[in-house]
Symmetry: none
Subunit: 121 residues, 4 copies
């Protein structure tokens, strides 16, 4: 899996890494149990400080997306926590985006189609 960093984004680099790995797991590009690159490997690959990559991995671990052990490094978790709900932060963000979409004049059907496409891939 290729991780692309936009160094000019407002989103911190560790968060960009975290987000792309979550999206990789969600899309199936990263399979359950699959090994992630080591912190050192990934940091040299994308030309970023190891601390930054490490921070991304720690967040993913805290959130329950990956597991780490000293022997095998980091892996995608096999039995993901299925809360069947989205957290409050995401809910607030979603409300904001829906509000802005509405004001842009887009129809709810077009908006839902966009969601379906995102869900599909």
């Amino acid at each position: 899996m290729i991780i692309k960093i936009n160094e000019y984004s407002d989103i911190p680099i560790y968060m960009q890494i975290r987000n792309q790995i979550v999206m990789g797991i969600s899309s199936g590009e990263l399979e359950a149990g699959e090994q992630l690159p080591t912190v050192r490997a990934l940091s040299t690959e994308i030309g970023i400080n190891t601390m930054t990559v490490s921070k991304a991995y720690q967040i993913l671990k805290t959130e329950g997306y990956i597991l780490t052990d000293r022997k095998n490094g980091a892996r995608v978790r096999m039995e993901m926590n299925r809360s069947k709900s989205i957290n409050n932060e995401n809910k607030d963000e979603l409300k904001r985006i829906v509000s802005e979409a509405k004001l842009s004049g887009i129809s709810i059907n077009d908006f839902k189609k966009m969601i379906e496409e995102m869900w599909g891939k």
Copy 2:
């Protein structure tokens, strides 16, 4: 319209204000042409510096959501710009949220129902 600031959020205060006003316009709580509170009034009401409120208003102005004149203060814009599309930042955020929703085990139908509720109100 009541604006609530979460001082522990990592979303900057001026952005929280901006977001809540956009959501207020979108929901209809703030009507087209309606007068917003003055910078001073809002800043004392929510206990925030005038500069911070002013920054929120300037962003809303730049984005085309409100208009300001020196006599009457700020108003919700009458003829909103209808791009009929969502910008790239919101699209990326939406992709991230959809990915996380999928991983939580929520069904696409439940997710779409949540969108409909948000759209409705």
Copy 3:
């Protein structure tokens, strides 16, 4: 001559009035010696405070575009001061606009054509 005020513009109202009268004189819509509406007439016509209109007239007088006397009110000056040069403020503004035009990728020929059109009318 019809004066249109944009109450949401960053340009102060008295300056909008001043600018439109100057442009009216330049285009020939207002002829040399022609009578301008009285401060009172213009202020009620466009729904603006008399002080604001008065300020515009005073600037036009100071700049030498109009003359006022107690009998006849304000008139467009017959013998305009022909400095055959543009002042430093306008020069600086022009430099800024030229710089931005260049950066926009427009060609100097298209830019000069635009100038010619503006000059023509």
Copy 4:
């Protein structure tokens, strides 16, 4: 690149900074990809508050002239947005300046020569 502030100008300081940087980019004095001074460096150099300089940089960022990242500070953008047109505000300003130039008795040829000189450097 040297930035000079006129504290008596009615153009706000942050706008003077913004304008001079845009003109620097346009003239080539600031090259694509070139590093701008840090907010702190520039603010101490010209004796202006960091907030004011920061505001100038944020406008330049919003307008797409520069990019900022947290590591390296601000840089001139490599791939500039080429709209190949000038915005309405600049068009209105240009009309006003052309009107005043005409009234000054300057010839259109001299005016166009002035534009060419500004364009050239």
